[in-house]
């Protein structure tokens, strides 16, 4: 090795943690599709939130302008990220907070563990946070002998059931209330054995359980929805008040946040506080919004930390086509309108980030490095509903197509990867490109249409196709092709002349 150390550690290219699918999407989707309870729960829940969102969005005459403003602010944040991060660090530190920079999941986890140990704690309460799920913090802390208690009701349900969230806003979207009752009875210490599946009784049981934790925990861990650069302020929006408890009661507060959550100034919240609750829960405003700027003597946590997480974000930022995926404010509007997510649920995507945004964000953060996460950009019919719903106008279909091309190129060996043998799809695409790139060749190929008729049965339907086309005839008949193409008809009937214009 003859490289010279220039004093600046290189960022790891890609993110780690719960971002990798362990199974290709089509296989995982097939299994999830078989879960009829899941499909019924998901269909009901997504349609309910979808309709609520449409109602409250329609109330705002300037919704499109708000979306444009949100997208423009985010684009400018991405363009000046280093500068804004330094500004934030200076302000946060000046107000008594401590900043920690984490290149990846492992580093972030170690920092959080050390901070908990320094505080002399072996259990922590947690506010729902996507960043800590992304880095697998709970599992890591458990291995280190530290118990992390989720306090958001749905996160608590999922955690008690040793399951993974299926939705970023409604993690237990895939469970109904009788399933929740069974989980509480089985896993919640000291629960009333006569618990019913009445929602008020379930909420009361979780409240009793959580209150003990809130009052005893010395350390809390949160994520952040926003970090304001010009004041050094962090913010969390939530619905249950559990966040407010965690953010105010313990002595030590540790926040883990992706670097892209930054906003330049407090004024920018005007736009985002209109966009986020409406897109997320379909409410005009969420019930609890908490902001804290460093430490306030004698009030709230006196030891305040922020772990700024890269974990593949620099790699995503370097992708000119894909970088706007980092505009995501984790509202979940895209998954609530996605016809693919609605049928498969979040587990099929194999990452902390499911649905349309997950299909682009996970492979952007990890790179198209495995067959499993390379399958994610194909988990969409490109219907465009996600783009229409996105409050910060992330053009998800365009990025999906871009990532598909990255995948195709990686198989060709044009990117860093090794060249692989072309598959059936590669061969078919090449052949189709040849045929479809010329009218003469199209005409030639269309001469074979009568052969297609031979493949059809007496009912003029093709019921079984070979190879990669077999998926089509799994649930669909293909009509027999006509005896002659339009091109052929036109040439014979109209020759090379066009139709006559009527006088």
């Amino acid at each position: 090795m003859s490289s010279t150390y220039l004093g600046m550690p290189a960022l790891p290219a890609y993110g780690q943690g719960n971002l990798h699918a362990t199974e290709a999407f089509p296989a995982a989707a097939q299994r999830e599709l078989g879960n009829t309870q899941l499909r019924a729960n998901l269909g009901h829940a997504t349609h309910t939130i979808r309709d609520k969102r449409l109602r409250v969005v329609a109330e705002l005459p300037d919704w499109e302008e708000l979306r444009n403003a949100g997208a423009a602010t985010k684009a400018s944040v991405m363009a000046r990220l280093p500068e804004l991060l330094e500004q934030f660090e200076a302000n946060f530190t000046a107000r008594g907070g401590t900043i920690h920079w984490a290149r990846d999941a492992a580093e972030a986890n170690r920092i959080v563990r050390d901070l908990i140990r320094d505080a002399g704690a072996d259990e922590v309460v947690k506010v729902k946070s996507m960043a800590t799920q992304e880095i697998g913090l709970n599992e890591y802390l458990e291995e280190q002998g530290i118990a992390a208690f989720e306090t958001d009701l749905a996160e608590l349900i999922v955690q008690l059931d040793h399951d993974k969230p299926s939705h970023i806003l409604v993690p237990a979207i895939h469970k109904n209330r009788s399933q929740v009752r069974d989980i509480f009875l089985r896993e919640m210490p000291g629960v009333d054995p006569d618990l019913t599946d009445n929602p008020a009784r379930l909420a009361e049981a979780s409240r009793m359980h959580l209150r003990r934790k809130f009052l005893s925990a010395k350390v809390a861990i949160s994520g952040a929805n926003f970090a304001i650069a010009d004041s050094g302020t962090l913010g969390v929006v939530e619905s249950e008040g559990n966040g407010r408890m965690c953010l105010t009661l313990p002595e030590t507060l540790i926040t883990v946040m992706g670097v892209e959550k930054l906003l330049p100034s407090f004024q920018d919240l005007e736009v985002f506080m209109q966009l986020l609750p409406r897109s997320s829960t379909g409410e005009r405003m969420n019930p609890y919004t908490s902001f804290w700027t460093g430490v306030t003597k004698g009030d709230g946590p006196q030891d305040v930390h922020l772990v700024l997480l890269d974990n593949g974000r620099s790699a995503a930022l370097a992708d000119e086509m894909g970088r706007s995926a980092l505009h995501c404010i984790r509202c979940s509007a895209c998954m609530n309108v996605c016809p693919v997510y609605e049928r498969t649920g979040g587990h099929a995507y194999g990452s902390t980030y499911p649905g349309p945004i997950g299909a682009i964000l996970s492979p952007l953060l990890t790179g198209i490095t495995s067959e499993e996460n390379a399958s994610l950009p194909y988990a969409s019919s490109l219907c465009g509903a996600c783009y229409d719903a996105c409050p910060v106008k992330i053009n998800i279909p365009e990025i999906l197509v871009h990532l598909r091309s990255v995948d195709v190129e990686s198989r060709r060996g044009n990117a860093a990867g090794k060249k692989k043998l072309p598959g059936q799809m590669d061969v078919a695409m090449k052949a189709a490109s040849w045929a479809m790139g010329s009218g003469r060749r199209m005409a030639l190929v269309e001469k074979a249409l009568p052969l297609g008729q031979l493949a059809a049965g007496p009912d003029k339907k093709i019921k079984k196709l070979p190879g990669i086309a077999a998926g089509w005839t799994q649930s669909r008949d293909l009509p027999a092709p006509p005896a002659r193409s339009f091109r052929d008809w036109w040439a014979k009937e109209r020759g090379n002349t066009s139709s006559k214009e009527k006088a």
Partner: protein, 275 residues
Amino acid sequence: MKIALFATCIVDAMYPSTARATVSILERLGHQVVFPAGQGCCGQMHLNSGYFPEAVPVIRNHVEAFEAEDYDVAVAPSGSCVASVKHQHAMLARAIGDKDLEARATAVGARTYELSALLTDVLGVTDAAAQMGSWYPHRITYHPSCHGMRLLRLGDRQSNLLRTVEGLELEPLPQADQCCGFGGTFSLKNADVSSAMLADKDANISATGAQLCTGGDASCLMHIGGGLSREGSSIATLHFAEILASTREDPAPAPDALRKPAGSTAGSIAERARR
């Protein structure tokens, strides 16, 4: 007006009657139709599947074929192919750094219209029965395909035209804006999810009580119709161009004739009896 027809690959090869219907509508309105013989495909399948280098010759061919012909506007009976011509061609040319192709693709895209957009916005059709003699006395429902709806923002253009067809009863389709699950190679790569989306779409279509489902994209209709056929449903599919082209003198096939498989028992016995 001199109108260049882009038949699209699937209509050309699988549904020539849709292209003939398009020609018939435009000629009935007094316009001249030309068919640029060099045309192939819009390249959407290659682009959307990530095969960008393979899409380049297809897109270049489309631009050249449509530049070679002298015409006022071009039209295609397909929302998704027009969306590709209008939005994707210049984008790919830009991506490969071909400024010349980008400018030419932009010019071709700017004068290419989806059929209902051309009829409504350029040719001033407001009443299909009065202006084109459209007659199709059947109960139908209508699926607005995603690309026409979201990329081209066609709105109610197709359904508004259908409403003015004499004798036609239009049944509203529940959850009409939901994707049918076709999505090009998505239907092959994620066949299970595609099938689940299709099952819901076809169930909604069946719930309308209509005899036929129409729409503006041959590929979505092939997918929807393929599912209905496999289920043994009596509901047929037909492109809206063929419904607009249908007249008392030259009617498009009725829904039962479209669905009735040629040579099936019921049909053939009746036919033999007639002979």
